[in-house]
């Protein structure tokens, strides 16, 4: 479902993403971890076609995102850490707009939208202006809208930011449920507990390279020591830091 082949992105002299190879199967829940400025968001941006890779390719749902961007995006959903929403629209109108953009049958939008609104506890906010909603509610509107077209691949950057425990639970449950139904999920997060709880496999990106991939248990076992995921993560991401260059500066 997602195939990254030799993905490289350079910003001037800096190699922000340095040759990532990764295959994620259908229905797999993949979480990517990494320190700040490790190259996670840049990888995601190349994966969804917002920026062109300097080298390599990203194939999403069977389509190369650079060669057939529209075919890939029809099967893809992307929710950034601070998603854009039209402030003066209501969540209902925004979801209708998204449904029309993805060319979904209006009846399906109605049923699917109502169901998603119910699951995400958005019923009370459907007819309120988005500008007046809290960050957490906006985040739920964005995730619900992104799920409206039943994407085959769901890419999400820091989904738990601004969500209270109850709604974080709802988002986790829905994503896990959809993943079980065949949707591939690529989740970028700083919260190790989220990755450990949800992901089938976890990848750790450090200084633009995928330094480790495996299940949470495999990552813990790699060290040969009985340690928590946090310890593995810290060890993997600090081992080469001393010899590294200054912290890369990435575009916002």
């Amino acid at each position: 479902m997602i195939e990254l082949r030799g993905l490289v992105k350079t910003f001037g002299d800096l190699r922000a993403v340095d040759g990532i190879d990764l295959t994620i199967g259908q229905g797999e829940f993949f979480a990517v971890l990494g320190p700040n400025a490790a190259g996670k968001t840049t990888t995601i941006k190349m994966m969804v076609g917002l920026i062109k890779p300097t080298e390599g390719s990203a194939v999403v749902a069977g389509y190369d995102i650079q060669q057939s961007p529209l075919d890939a995006r029809k099967r893809l959903a992307y929710v950034p850490d601070f998603p854009f929403l039209y402030d003066k629209l209501t969540p209902l109108e925004f979801m209708q707009f998204t449904g029309q953009l993805f060319n979904i049958d209006p009846d399906k939008v109605r049923h699917q939208g109502a169901e998603l609104a119910r699951r995400f506890h958005l019923d009370a906010f459907l007819n309120k202006s988005i500008e007046g909603l809290s960050h957490g509610t906006r985040q739920r509107v964005a995730i619900a809208s992104a799920l409206l077209h039943d994407p085959e691949v769901f890419v999400i950057d820091e989904p738990m930011v601004g969500l209270d425990p109850q709604h974080a639970r709802i988002v986790k449950d829905i994503l896990k449920e959809r993943s079980g139904q065949g949707m591939t999920v690529f989740l970028s997060t700083h919260q190790l507990s989220v990755a450990e709880e949800l992901a089938d496999r976890i990848g750790i990106i450090h200084q633009g390279r995928l330094v480790a991939v495996g299940t949470a248990r495999e990552l813990r076992d790699q060290s040969g020591r009985d340690e928590a995921l946090e310890s593995s993560f810290l060890r993997l991401t600090t081992e080469s830091t001393e010899s590294s260059e200054p912290e890369p500066t990435q575009p916002a």
Binding site: I51, R73, K88, Q100, N103, P251
Partner: protein, 575 residues
Amino acid sequence: MNSASQPSGLKLLAGVHLRQHWRRLKGVMSQSRLLSATILFFLMGYCWLSFAIFHRAMRFIGSFPGLGDLLIERMLFLLFAFLFALLLISNLVITYSNLFRNRETNFLHSLPMHPNTIFQWKFLESTVVASWAFIFLIAPMLAAYGLVEKVDWTFYPMTCLLILQFVILPGFAGAWAAIALARYMDRRAFQYTLLAIGLVTLAALAFWLKAEQVTDDMLETRVMLVLDRLLRNTQFSQFAFLPSYWLATAVISWSEGASSATLFFILVLLSYGLFLGGVTMTFPGSPFYEAASAVQSRGSGMGWPGLRFRRHRRSHSNDFGSGGWLHALLSLPWWIPLESRAVLIKDIRVFWRDTSQWGQSLLLFGLLAAYIINLKNFSAQLNNPFWIHLIAYLNLGACSLNLATLTTRFVFPQFSLEGKRLWIVGMAPIGLNKVIQIKYTLATLISLLVTGSLIVLSCYMLRMPWTQALYFTFVILVMSLTLNGLAMGLGVIYPNFKEDNPSKIVSGFGGTFCLVLSFLYIVGTILILAVGSPWAQQARPLTTGIAWVLFGMLSLGIGYLPYRLGVRRLKYLEI
């Protein structure tokens, strides 16, 4: 998926945006009917005033025997040529921001929407935003021209058609230039280049259009020679490949009844519009995506070598003890407390590093300075004190109008922008009142430095005695204090903590209110002071005294009162 009966992406986007704009307008209307009525009244007043000035000027110029029509025509050619240049710049800047520095564009790129569709929508949006002011500016002028030339009713719909055909051309040019710049330049390099082009153009224009020293002898005996020079220097506006030339010729031809000539230029504008429109609407998808990707890919590590070096140097200066030259400079006035100095340094650095902020001000005041410096070429003819004082008051008006745009654009959003950083600035033991006071002082000092210098320069060029120069300098001092107080006070009373973009903060209710009040204050001040001028032909001390009392009361009401209300509001502020 449903393939039939779904609106196109362009229609969807248009629908969403129309709905958004309509709700925004309704929001403004519902906030205060009085304010909406004031804004409407203000706009109508502008149209009427602008029409009256153009009408009067055209009738005056048209009354020159044998030359009137020629001069009016040349005025139209010149005005359209300048406005065309301004339209090019504004289209370039607005399209660049809209295509490459816009969160909606990024959002749309992640949807199954063709880059062509995204580009088409953003192009239309940018062209409308960049052109509305042009239409607003020339409508009263064309109405005045029609009245002076006694045209029939067909002139007005015809000019509307011509203007629509015309404004789209700089839109196309601006869009392609924005794509090219985004592809090959980073934002900072783009800003510096734009600024450099602006300054060079300004210098070239100041040199080319420099007013010539005309002696009394020449005015009496060699009028034709002077006129000939004037026409020769402005000949560039009749360059046959300029779209502004096509527009001006078509407008003039229609007013003269030469319909075939008008038709010809309509077809010229139409053919260029169709050709460029065809190219722009069909092909830009790929270059636009390439450019958008380049902009997204550009970290602060890219750009021009010199700029990179500066950033490198800045990022590697890890000595917390050294604050740089600005810190050293502001340490000289020892009486400023450390915490106030910290806010001052932060504000100056933020302002300086945002090129778009001071770039606009520099262009505005640069134009004004170029005009004032040229005054020396006229002052020889200005023997009559009436004209000298009239020009001095007009200069005061021009300076304060520029100042009002500056205070509304930069001072008004200061508090709203600070709101996002209240976790550090607001929580510091300095107190919000003090922060506002420092910002107000800094803004007043900077604006006074610029406008005060211009007023002193204006008085010097007009060869006015020092007492009069002092009078005008004092007036601009009071006006600076007032306009800054108004902008700062209203900024606190009507904050917008949700927006990061200062121009969006200004475009809201409070910003518009600030602009309207500033304009009314300036008009009121100039009228009061001109009526009570101590140098008027029938000046009486009582009239002058009353004028100054009124001026003082007006300044207190417009400047001090909102500032005090703003400070009081800070006590009960909940964020």
